[in-house]
């Protein structure tokens, strides 16, 4: 048993840490200033500073670190990338700066594993180059998406074509001016067995029949210039070759992207929780009231201790999940992956809430604290709500007593 990262991973962590803290964090305010402040998504523009950061990260080799495929990406295992993901969670800009933001990460992995040579050349290459972005159209507004059998959108094969219909939402990045393509999931054959009904289709962003219905706010944020869209697909027609890996493999592909994606999310949440705890501690030692530093008032030290204990435990379990995924495969990691998906977002939300509280009036107006809170809050729902994951942990536990 050894809790130390490998030498090379430690070096990479240090490099990423330096880049995030010396280059990315100081660019946050510039980015916010450069943003076009409007609710009209068609007016959104990409702040130039992010492209500068991307160029610099690429030059430094801090690029596509998420991609376990050594040919297209950094070739890191889950356990080696996990601590990198944590560092990127400390700034809302960092994942994009390093070309490691969702849903591009999952989409790239899908194209690496399942994409045709043509798909890889036309879409994967510019995605990994940071020239385009992508979106993932899976969740639907009218049904409980945690139950995949509810999916209503269709992608029917008609002759040489595949025809897409349906309403998707929480399609993140759909408002990004650089959007290149969607990966769309829908039902191809409702009469097939439960796990072979769905297909995934690569849809160019400019395909006819796609309409952005609205951009959804996330706890009050539109997250411009990316945006989370409700998107209508009305009779979108594409050549049959747009179906990734062929019809009926949607479920299989979806499963494959879940494990690593959840580990990325959780490690970023842990990095964000560390940032929230820093904000909390900084305030606690600097602010005074009633003649004392806040840290010497009431239960603030208990809050800080509880935060440290919660973060350290969440990190270890997430790293163990990554290690298990690497060494024993997805099945062996199921309990840990569902567990961290409950734990890490809740830890983040709790600490961000405490950081807000200790900031008093500033706390509810502070953009970073809002981002930290919202990230935790949303992750408790996205990619399976807490309830579904707790249910999975209990189910696997109870299987021991069958």
């Amino acid at each position: 048993m050894d809790f130390a990262h490998s030498e090379s991973t430690q070096q990479l962590i240090a490099q990423v840490h330096r880049f995030v803290h010396e280059r990315v964090v100081p660019s946050e305010a510039i980015y916010r200033d450069q943003l076009v402040d409007t609710a009209d998504w068609t007016q959104w523009k990409i702040p130039p500073v992010i492209e500068e950061l991307k160029a610099e990260a690429k030059r430094l080799g801090l690029w596509n670190l998420f991609l376990p495929d050594a040919e297209h990406g950094a070739g890191l295992s889950n356990r080696d990338y996990a601590p990198i993901a944590e560092v990127t969670g400390r700034s809302f800009l960092a994942p994009e700066a390093l070309n490691c933001s969702a849903p591009d990460t999952g989409n790239a992995e899908v194209l690496v594993k399942y994409g045709s040579a043509e798909q890889q050349q036309r879409w994967l290459a510019p995605l990994l180059a940071g020239e385009i972005r992508s979106a993932f159209a899976m969740t639907e507004p009218a049904v409980a998406s945690s139950d995949a059998t509810n999916m209503r959108a269709t992608c029917e094969v008609v002759g040489d074509e595949v025809v897409l219909n349906g309403i998707k939402w929480w399609t993140s990045g759909a408002g990004d001016p650089r959007l290149g393509f969607f990966i769309f999931m829908g039902v191809t054959d409702p009469s097939a067995s439960r796990h072979t009904q769905h297909s995934m289709v690569l849809v160019p962003a400019d395909a006819a029949g796609i309409r952005i219905v609205r951009m959804l706010p996330v706890i009050g944020n539109l997250d411009e210039p990316h945006g989370h869209a409700e998107v209508a697909f009305d009779d979108v027609r594409l050549p049959k070759s747009a179906i990734i890996a062929g019809p009926g493999r949607g479920f299989e592909i979806a499963q494959g992207r879940l494990g690593p994606g959840r580990i990325h999310h959780c490690m970023r949440a842990i990095g964000a929780a560390e940032r929230a705890l820093e904000r909390l501690c900084e305030r606690a030692v600097q602010r005074t009231a009633f003649g004392k530093r806040l840290v010497d008032l009431g239960g603030n030290r208990d809050i800080i201790a509880n935060a440290r204990m919660a973060i350290d435990q969440a990190r270890l379990l997430t790293l163990k999940a990554a290690w298990t995924l690497d060494t024993r495969g997805t099945r062996a990691a199921l309990t840990d992956i569902s567990a961290i998906k409950v734990i890490a977002p809740n830890v983040l939300q709790t600490i961000a809430d405490a950081a807000m509280q200790i900031h008093g009036g500033q706390g509810v107006a502070d953009a970073e604290l809002h981002w930290l809170y919202a990230m935790g809050r949303v992750l408790r729902i996205a990619d399976g709500p807490d309830e579904v994951h707790r249910h999975m942990v209990a189910k696997l536990e109870l299987a021991k007593y069958a």
Copy 2:
């Protein structure tokens, strides 16, 4: 001991309930549509529908119910107004529709009790008529406002004039096009005893030297068209008669508005919590996943039961605080008032969070759920953070052991 409201109060509750549910709630969507959707506060306009609601409420006699003074207002005691305040908490529009929204309520009470005849005629009359609105400039950005001795803003008496200087924030309503006046609090005589240093000054909204620095977002909301402003007062000069009740009485006046104000806040929070629980239950019985209604999945019934128990307890303690304030005075009500100020906002935040969670993806994008959550979250800080009130409860408890 009798837990029933008086006959007349029960009738009034029923009337307000009907108005809120039949007229105000259905107007919420209209109001949102009529809002000018911009972050530029100088462009904000009042949605016409709210003025229609106000006219109707006035006609029905559901107007200024908050004001215990029978000459200027409805003459209700705290215990009789409290359940009315709860009903108004069920819609973000209701308090304004009934001319019962903060900070107008507290400002009106101050002018009724301490205002000169001239102040009452010029400012109180149109405020109670719903023609103008008002703001309260007390909190300051650079210091812990829960400790009043920290206040830095000044209102110096210079000859016949009073001169105001300082930066205030969380001055709610400062962006409202109908704003008539501020009540400003500052230090007049730093050499006076601890509780006679401050004064309150009535400042016309168009006085020279006032500058809105920025509008503060509240968990992502600007709350247009009212807004919460950071306001600079630079050498604002007014006749000495603008000092309410004369110099040095600011602390005394501030104390007097706290008790009733906190009861209003808490009862509205409880009404909001009821609304959140309704949203939660409606979703739980309507939505299905994995072949079951959500209410039949996992711990959702426990969440509902816990919410009901928390609300009912919080309501009773708030009503008792109101009754104690009415029958035994502020000193006797101190523990209860601090207690409810901790309890009610936390109950609201917790239930709003649960309502978000059960709504899944819709939960984080829903405007009403966001409002409910933000109301609870902000109230945990506004008017004294949880920590200060818990400290007060403990202090009074420990006084028994001295």
Copy 3:
């Protein structure tokens, strides 16, 4: 709405408070010294001091206050007895000293309402005189007793006799040397409708066929000299007249005793919680560590404030349940009664745990703290576990959405 107790109730509370604090509490140590310290229940003796206290209470008229029947008892309503019950919760000896301890209270109420003249004369009279004690044999070891349809014990009518068979447990008081009778519940007619299958039977303690299987420890306490027994009833034969109110009315009788009984339990739990908070505060102001009083260390003031807030809320809801039971009947009080049955024991357990914690090593060895903790812990299970009551609260809440 009026939160004040009536004049006469206030006087009675004051009297009971004086008696409990001046006479009962100082007798606790004497009682413990007089106890025969043995696990062999057949050796148990009644400490003389309790009989002295009973005589004194009777003389002072502080006797049978629980009994709403004015002829046999004090004739207090639930809302008037509730605050008395709270005071008796402050000492483990007080309920018995005032002849107000369970299960005698419920048994007496049953005999007042449903007992024959003969039963009242032979059993109720000495019970109310404090000469004998009684036990209630309902719960069974092999099944979930919160679901009454599970009951397996039988009381068959055979000719002129009723014949009892079955195993009961948690039959409290069964080890008391003064035990006069059991009230036994069993199935008389399994073919009858769901609510008319059961009967209650008055069983003299010395009836042939009764066997104490063992005394059950409660979190390590045997609660001698009363004891909680597992009791076997093997072919116990009694005249048919022993059936209270006749065959088939067991369920109806059981329902009737639940509401008041739960209010008594909860008010006593609240009194016990007040005692636990006193212990906590006394320790917090007296003990020093690291040069400070404990009250000035860490989050202890938050713990104290949270305890005060929890107790005050629980008390109000319990009083409201009592008032509702008095003025609107059992059906109207269902939500409140289930709610307090969850809330009050949990409040007690939490505060008793905190009181233990602040006492350090002494905390886990202190007999009073152990009693306070165990009382809360057991009440979370006795008379319906938390889960069943939460379920009831949720069910009634959701009925609004049917």
Copy 4:
């Protein structure tokens, strides 16, 4: 990074697991039957079955595994012994059966590191042979022992002798008929620097002047035949050579035993928490109510999932603490050791409480559930209460902001 135990550790875990489950657990009932059930500690006897288990464990080589010294013990590192300690936490008999129970473990380590050749021969040898047991007399009743400067007991050097005076309590094992010696800590030189005032003295159990004042119950348990005693040392005179490592080194020796001791405690608590979760799950799948298995009622699955998540996190952090202690020393492990000392006992208490609850009436009478609960409860106080350890975690965290 590697979460797998070494091959040899895995084998050892498997062996201990088999021994505990096949031999120790089935002996628990025999042990309880053989116990002399009396509160009079002078009558206590050792149940023969434990000596049989010890003999068998010794024969199997599952003996003194705790001792990192390879000459006297198994020579395992903390990270290798930690998972063994977890397994021993699953039965109250297992630590003693494997000669790995506190306080013998800490006392043996002290004698290995600091004992003279004579002390090792006369006392360590029989202790490691399982022939005698030992006690540790440090905590005192009158003062907060978490602050070592409070210690009042003295061990003065007078000529060739050391003279012991003072009252100790929570001296565990002091009632054991096999008790061989105490290690006593007291003040030798109050004028010395803070960390060189104290000495540790090896005191034969039969030394003149030692008096057992009473045996302390632990949440209602005397833990016979070991017992936790209040012990008076009145002018106990020993040759100066009885001072371990010489005068003034008591604090240093005490510090050294803390780290490993806390890891042992926490790992045993985790093993106990696993046992509590097993009991909970077994009941949940076997018991039915209202026509369903308990596992399908209410929030029981959430409770199970939360328990699994809490245990897995606590284990990982404890293992990391052990690894850090092994590889980077005590200073580097301070945060983790304090953190686990808060976390593991609370996890155990919470799960034991939930296991009690799901067992209903049986839950509060069940000896094993009581033991599990009491173990968690006591550990929240023993060896530094939660509050002291949270304070330490916060202090180390805030040191980053100095």
